[in-house]
Point group: C2
Chain length 309, copies 2
Amino acid sequence: MMDADLAERVRGGDRRALARALSVVENDAAGREALLRALAASVGRAHRVGVTGPPGAGKSTLVAALATAWRKAGRQVGVLAVDPSSPFTGGALLGDRIRMGMHAGDEGVFIRSLATRGAAGGISAAAEDAADVLDAAGFDLVLTETVGVGQAELEVAEVADTTVLVLAPGSGDEVQAMKAGLLEAADVVVVNQGDRPDAEATRRALENALALRDREAPPVLVTIATRGDGVEALRELLDERAAPAARAALAARRLGRARRRVRLEADRLRAEAFWSRHGTLLDRLAGEVAAGRTTAAGAAARLVQEAGR
Amino acid sequence: MMDADLAERVRGGDRRALARALSVVENDAAGREALLRALAASVGRAHRVGVTGPPGAGKSTLVAALATAWRKAGRQVGVLAVDPSSPFTGGALLGDRIRMGMHAGDEGVFIRSLATRGAAGGISAAAEDAADVLDAAGFDLVLTETVGVGQAELEVAEVADTTVLVLAPGSGDEVQAMKAGLLEAADVVVVNQGDRPDAEATRRALENALALRDREAPPVLVTIATRGDGVEALRELLDERAAPAARAALAARRLGRARRRVRLEADRLRAEAFWSRHGTLLDRLAGEVAAGRTTAAGAAARLVQEAGR
């Protein structure tokens, strides 16, 4: 009842209810599922944009500038700031909030920092739950900003409709991004700090690298986020990806995302049930591995076989 | 056959066979298991020390200095350099190899950079496999060096017998390490760059923070790795942890490690078998999530139930 009520107020655009709903999905394991279920039918309208890239590329400034551009166009913008390297929010994210201060008092912009839930895959699940809530609350855009170029960023990128990779010119970050597979995952690449002399060379190098991908090469844009240069062009490009003509591609991507999420959750449920029954067997076989009588893989194969009997 | 042969040569101390064996466990999914099985009975003698901490703390220099100290004591040292943020080795790791150059030509020191296998948990499994090979090859110490203070570092720390956290004075890194749970996982804490004026204040701050832990507070040592100061004391402290008197604690830790590893591998096997049978069901339920008719958790619960029938 309480959740149906809370869900109703979230859908109605109540900002205090929204803040509370985000806390529920983040911290209240029991309440999360009921709330997400109550919101499910209202999810799927927002365009989810993941903004990723190394520290220092200017992501936060770009996100703030994009939020401004979308506000001018009359759109509502939700921002999720995620630091997968830290289980708590703080540091860089506090800075983000300060930079987003220009939007203070504007009900059309909502900013939230996200903590990780610890386990691998935890941060992308948390980001997706929070994005669902913002989506159901009527935000046209949900921007998820991550810090860094590692595995966690790739996972967060996977929960976006559109992934924007932001790089600084001449930083060598493009090499690192390429190695981490982020360039492969990017739908749009932005060279920010475009007033630096090597911006154009970096753009060309990226275009050459991107031409080698299997799928269609993403556009590479140059921006100067601090002055707003190029931000309007980026906003238009992003809006095109959510336009009716692009709906089929977006729907396919969302289906793939739902598939991953159901699979992950089913794996978790099955593991929970399995290990509550076979803990003793696990102890025995782990003992054999520790004693050097078998390998972990050998013990696992035997365990699965014996448990199946 | 080939693997029994290779395993025999690895156990005999053949360095070329060792390099090849490490490539097999890293890249050859089919050969890995046979080789690890052939080596299993020889695994468990090495003291595995994980060295972790933020970039710039001087981990590589400390690892090189520790290797020197152990060589002087007549021990053989294997070093695994891991960068979980990058799926390829390079950058910092190349630097590590150069700094370790002082050990070039010494058969008692073996250095290897480790690439990640992509998936979450992949890097800790890869590090553990490689440590098993070095262990079976007769190295007395296996040092695993990681870069950064995130989730991947925690996972790598978990595969060590002893985890050393290296911090620089006054960097604020101790706060970040605390947040990431690394301080909780550390068995020994080292304040490196001890010639900096704030080294002593950092040591005291760490001791205060560590006194708040549930379990026994780990010792905090101050070193100047570039000059070798404090390195001998650190080596002695680490050797004490592998001494006969400490065997029971070490054995318990190894059993826990084997348990985690068998469980992870069994989960993987079970998921593989399950999804090869229930892909169609997954597609259907993912479609319902994408359409907003249910949540991922609701769909997963139904999937597990329907599949179980």
